[in-house]
């Protein structure tokens, strides 16, 4: 019922369709970069063309290595989308599990989970991630994902726990319990569907934040490394030359911002649809 109402509400919002369209393009670029770029990553680069601006035949100009910048920027999409989505999915699964267990059982389990959450919540993001990533220098996309999950599951866990505590004392849960439902059935069939909506909204907003965070680590030089291609890496190189060659900064920044912005706007409209009181 809630999902149906939410969909009817969403259908009428221009922002929803706009951000969904942008994300569809971004996901397509991540999955099938060949459809958009005529060159592979780091392919057919010509050092003589290094840092040249946009011209006919090269819409976005050339990067430092003289590679076609449009192709490079398109290939950069995959790192951001894969990291953003997989970090959020893993973090959400962890937080649903821990939130359910801690919120439902309370007592020692809850105390342990809550303190563990506090510990990880207290680690500053950029510094914490930098320390881990420098300790393991040979890292690709999956190591980045692991680090970002490790530092990013706490907020959603707190939210989920609070939701479970609010829901577990409601009458319908008590009714199900009196009918003889087991703890597991209560958690999965009754409490979970009624407490997960705000977590999903935060997760959508979180995808944007994770993408920005991953780009920040690349930009600082501790994230992905050449020959990987990502927007953060392109911005890292751009920082030295952007005063004379602004196109190096503008194009990856534009793609990055459009993607992050779309996830944020999507999260916003979904929240409005699920909870119209807030609008």
């Amino acid at each position: 019922m809630l999902a149906r109402d939410a969909w009817l509400e969403l259908r009428g919002r221009a922002v929803f369709w706009f951000s969904a369209a942008v994300l569809l393009v971004a996901v397509a670029m991540a999955a099938f970069p060949g459809l958009f770029a005529h060159l592979g990553p780091n392919e057919a680069c010509d050092l003589r063309m290094s840092k040249r601006g946009p011209a006919s035949g090269a819409l976005f100009g050339y990067d430092l290595q003289g590679c076609d910048y449009w192709s490079q920027v398109v290939h950069g999409t995959r790192a951001s989308i894969v990291v953003g989505v997989s970090v959020t999915v893993f973090a959400m699964l962890i937080s649903i599990l821990l939130g359910l267990v801690g919120g439902y059982y309370g007592g020692v389990a809850d105390a342990v989970i809550s303190r563990l959450t506090d510990v990880f919540f207290g680690i500053p993001f950029v510094l914490g991630a930098t320390v881990v990533l420098v300790a393991f220098p040979d890292h690709g996309i999956w190591a980045m994902t692991l680090v970002l999950v490790l530092l990013g599951w706490t907020t959603m866990t707190r939210l989920m726990r609070g939701q479970v505590i609010a829901v577990k004392d409601m009458d319908f849960v008590a009714a199900a319990r009196m009918l003889g439902a087991s703890d597991r059935r209560l958690m999965v069939r009754h409490i979970l569907p009624n407490s997960v909506a705000p977590v999903i909204v935060v997760a959508m907003l979180n995808v944007g934040n994770v993408i920005a965070g991953e780009a920040t680590l690349d930009y600082l030089g501790v994230g992905l490394q050449y020959p990987d291609v990502s927007w953060g890496l392109q911005l890292n190189i751009a920082q030295t030359f952007f005063a004379e060659h602004p196109h190096l900064l503008v194009f990856p920044a534009l793609f990055l911002t459009a993607t992050v912005l779309s996830f944020l706007m999507l999260g916003d409209v979904v929240r409005d649809a699920l909870d119209p009181r807030l609008r």
């Binding site: 303190r115 506090d118 510990v119 500053p124 930098t130 320390v131 300790a135 911002t257």
Partner: protein, 309 residues
């Protein structure tokens, strides 16, 4: 009072667990720091043993950590592997980062709450739409892109601010970096204030106050706003720690010699003692700020105070 003691009792184990985690991660960095110090030259086994003993590198990790924390509470953050005390190295840098974070924080507080109130009072109006769109945009643009754009446009092209360094001192050199650092939090504060104010303006107690004939200014300022600011205060408290830690990017762009830059260099040079020292202090600030917010709640909201008593 009992509540304060209880919160403190929770915060202490969290502090030790977090700092131990950082300590373990940093000293799990691969590579022997003593060998790194010598560069390409071979190190005689005897020298190596003496050096390792001097820095207690062969003790169990927990013992090393315990010895280190004892030192921290006496104001001793240890030495770098070249023999310089870490606290001396950081002395001047703390001031830079603190000034930067404080500038950003005040900016967030004043402009953020101002924009939020402006938008919340006229929900659906032009100002509201502009604030919502603007803040979403600011949240979406990564801070280093904001930084470079601001540096080029406001600093280089328009010449309104110095572009780098701390030559002009506070506030001149810190205004632009502070605004860049605070931009994300500002957008967040504005949205939080707006949502919270909108909700409260619809509450029964506001209708009652209006019905009793109170002026709009009094209803909003004294009743609705005070209640609306509770979540905002929470965020602002937590965010101060984030600003100190997040300064690494802003300091890099504007070339401010703060702790962020120092710790970043140290991580790459495997200067473990500096990294642990800085992060330990940051975690301490972060936990203290959280604690202060929790205690401040009671002052702001008598309902919370009574419920806890």
């Amino acid at each position: 009072m009992r509540y304060a003691a209880q919160r403190l009792a929770q915060a202490i184990p969290v502090f030790f667990a977090t700092t131990f985690l950082i300590y373990a991660m940093v000293f799990a960095l691969p590579g022997d720091p003593i060998l790194a110090l010598a560069g390409d030259k071979p190190v005689p086994a005897q020298v190596l043993a003496v050096m390792r003993a001097r820095y207690h590198l062969d003790d169990p990790l927990l013992v090393q950590y315990g010895r280190y924390m004892l030192g921290v509470f006496q104001g001793d953050l240890g030495e770098t592997f070249t023999g310089q005390p870490v606290s001396e190295l950081l002395q001047d840098r703390w001031a830079v980062t603190a000034q930067l974070a404080l500038t950003a924080w005040v900016f967030e507080l004043v402009v953020g709450i101002g924009l939020g109130v402006l938008a919340g009072l006229r929900r659906g109006g032009a100002a509201d739409t502009a604030v919502l769109a603007g803040t979403t945009f600011v949240i979406a643009v990564p801070v280093f892109v904001v930084g470079y754009t601001a540096q080029i446009v406001l600093g280089l092209n328009l010449g309104l601010f110095p572009t780098a360094g701390t030559d002009e001192g506070w506030p001149g050199s810190y205004l632009l970096p502070g605004m860049v650092l605070g931009s994300f939090g500002l957008a967040y504060v504005a949205r939080l204030t707006r949502t919270s104010l909108v909700e409260n303006l619809r509450a029964d107690y506001v209708r009652t106050a209006t019905a009793k004939g109170l002026s709009r200014r009094r209803v909003v300022g004294l009743h609705a706003l005070r209640n609306s600011l509770i979540p905002v205060v929470t965020y602002l408290g937590v965010d101060f720690g984030n600003l100190m830690a997040g300064a690494v990017v802003t300091e890099g762009i504007f070339n401010l010699p703060g702790i962020g830059q120092q710790v970043f260099q140290s991580i790459q040079l495997q200067e473990g003692p500096v990294v642990v020292g800085v992060v330990t202090l940051l975690v301490m600030i972060f936990i203290l700020a959280n604690l202060a917010v929790d205690l401040l709640y009671g002052v702001l909201d008598p309902r919370i105070r009574r419920a806890r008593a």
